[in-house]
């Protein structure tokens, strides 16, 4: 593993972490506002998180 690869992998992890963290945080907020919609919010949250994760993994493999 060379240094650019490692730096790239780090950047990817930062980006994906920020993205998933934001999704999680916003979902929490949404559930707090509307607890009765928590099921739907959770599903949407998981899908969005999975999509970001997929991109993250694809980039990690390229790095």
């Amino acid at each position: 593993m060379t240094i650019p690869n490692i730096v790239g992998a780090g950047l990817i992890v930062i980006g994906a972490g920020l993205g998933i963290g934001r999704i999680g945080g916003q979902a929490m907020e949404a559930i707090a506002r509307q607890p009765e919609a928590s099921g739907k919010i959770q599903t949407a949250m998981l899908i969005a998180a999975a999509l970001i994760e997929g991109i993250g993994f694809a980039a990690l493999f390229a790095a």
């Binding site: 899908i47 994760e53 993994f57 493999f61």
Partner: protein, 366 residues
């Protein structure tokens, strides 16, 4: 307090599999790594090799192996049939290959396994390597029942038994018995929370069988990956490719006119934009299943590598603080992997349902 049935099922799997998997995997490592200890570098190399080996498919089903005092490798497990197409069908047992240590002779040709891939060699079993350490030997077409294929077949039979016994119990009454009691809430969950909201009431029945199959297949096979059997099917990119290919084919062959209309001639946007959008949408058809296959593959591979690395730390630290620390970490991670096993199955099913829903959606309101 009333607990949801899904939750109690998860607890059941947790209790049934977890101690077994963590303890036995460590046991396996001990036997594998401990005899060859020669300084720290040697251990690190050996752990790396062990992880690499675990991630590959193999031609035999070995549960664990150890080295005798006289240097002889002993493998505990059973051989699987090797089926090659090399100027005719060649079938022999993988025990002839001796885990890559011996040359197998079949029908006048000699074969040797090198890094779990079978090559045709001369009678001495020489593997010729090029400058990049890739073998230049002829590689026959390999249709072998490998460890992964074997596991897939076993899971298929297991699912056939599980679901046919469940179906049979419904003939006797509305309440399922035995296996069906575990499965009914999950089946209903997939129907009510995955299929119907995403595909719609009108069309969901066509896709239910596929969604159920794919969910339980991925889930069971992921859970098996956490047991001491050491099977590791969903981190084979060919397996996840096949699964995603099924989603791709079903999506495109059941798609209606409005789906294709949205791809080639997007309604509701300016004419010029339609021309720009068409190739992007066309690419999207392939990117969607591609992301499915990469996601499943990468998640399971990453999980296995991290789990095995943490277990491997024990043999690098070699003191009680480091070992108990990595045991705790491995335990926590194994718990997380249990969640990931179910989550990945859920995501795959969910996204498949989403794509099917897009394929059959009717746009009367446009």
């Amino acid at each position: 307090m009333q607990r949801k049935p899904v939750v109690s099922l998860l607890f059941f799997f947790l209790i049934a599999f977890l101690p077994l998997s963590v303890l036995a995997q460590e046991d396996m490592h001990l036997k594998e790594i401990a005899p060859g200890v020669e300084g720290e570098q040697g251990v690190k190399e050996e752990i790396k090799e062990y992880i690499d080996h675990h991630l590959l498919d193999s031609h035999d089903f070995s549960l664990f192996s150890y080295t005798k005092d006289n240097g002889e490798h002993v493998y505990v497990g059973f051989p699987l049939p090797v089926i090659l197409w090399d100027d005719g069908l060649k079938v022999f047992s993988s025990s002839k290959l001796h885990h890559g240590e011996a040359v197998a002779e079949a029908g006048g040709n000699y074969y040797k396994s090198y890094h779990n891939k079978i090559y045709r060699t001369n009678a001495e079993g020489d593997i010729n390597l090029d400058d990049h350490h890739h073998p230049t030997n002829v590689k026959p077409l390999d249709f072998s029942i490998t460890k992964n294929v074997f596991t897939i077949l076993i899971v298929g039979l297991l699912m056939l038994w599980m679901f046919s016994s469940m179906a049979k119990s419904y003939k006797k009454g509305a309440l399922p018995k035995g296996m069906g009691r575990f499965l009914e809430p999950i089946v209903l969950y997939i129907r009510d929370d995955i299929a119907i909201p995403n595909i719609g009431k009108k069309h969901y029945k066509r896709y239910m069988s596929f969604l159920l199959t794919i969910f339980f297949f991925i889930w069971i096979i992921n859970l098996l990956g956490l047991t001491p059997l050491g099977v590791n099917v969903t981190n084979n990119i060919a397996v996840t490719f096949a699964l995603a290919l099924l989603t791709f084919l079903i999506t495109n062959f059941t798609a209606n006119k409005s789906y294709w209309g949205h791809i080639f001639w997007m309604p509701g946007v300016p004419k010029l934009m339609r021309i720009v959008l068409a190739p992007i949408e066309l690419l999207g058809i392939f990117i969607k299943p591609f992301s499915l296959l990469i996601r499943l593959y990468a998640n399971i591979t990453a999980g296995h590598i991290v789990l095995m690395s943490i277990i491997g730390l024990m043999f690098i630290f070699k003191n009680w603080i480091g070992s108990s620390l990595s045991f705790g970490l491995a335990f926590a991670l194994a718990l997380l992997e249990l969640l990931v096993a179910a989550l990945q199955a859920y995501i795959f099913t969910m996204l498949s349902a989403l794509y099917f829903g897009q394929a059959v959606e009717e746009h009367d309101d446009h």
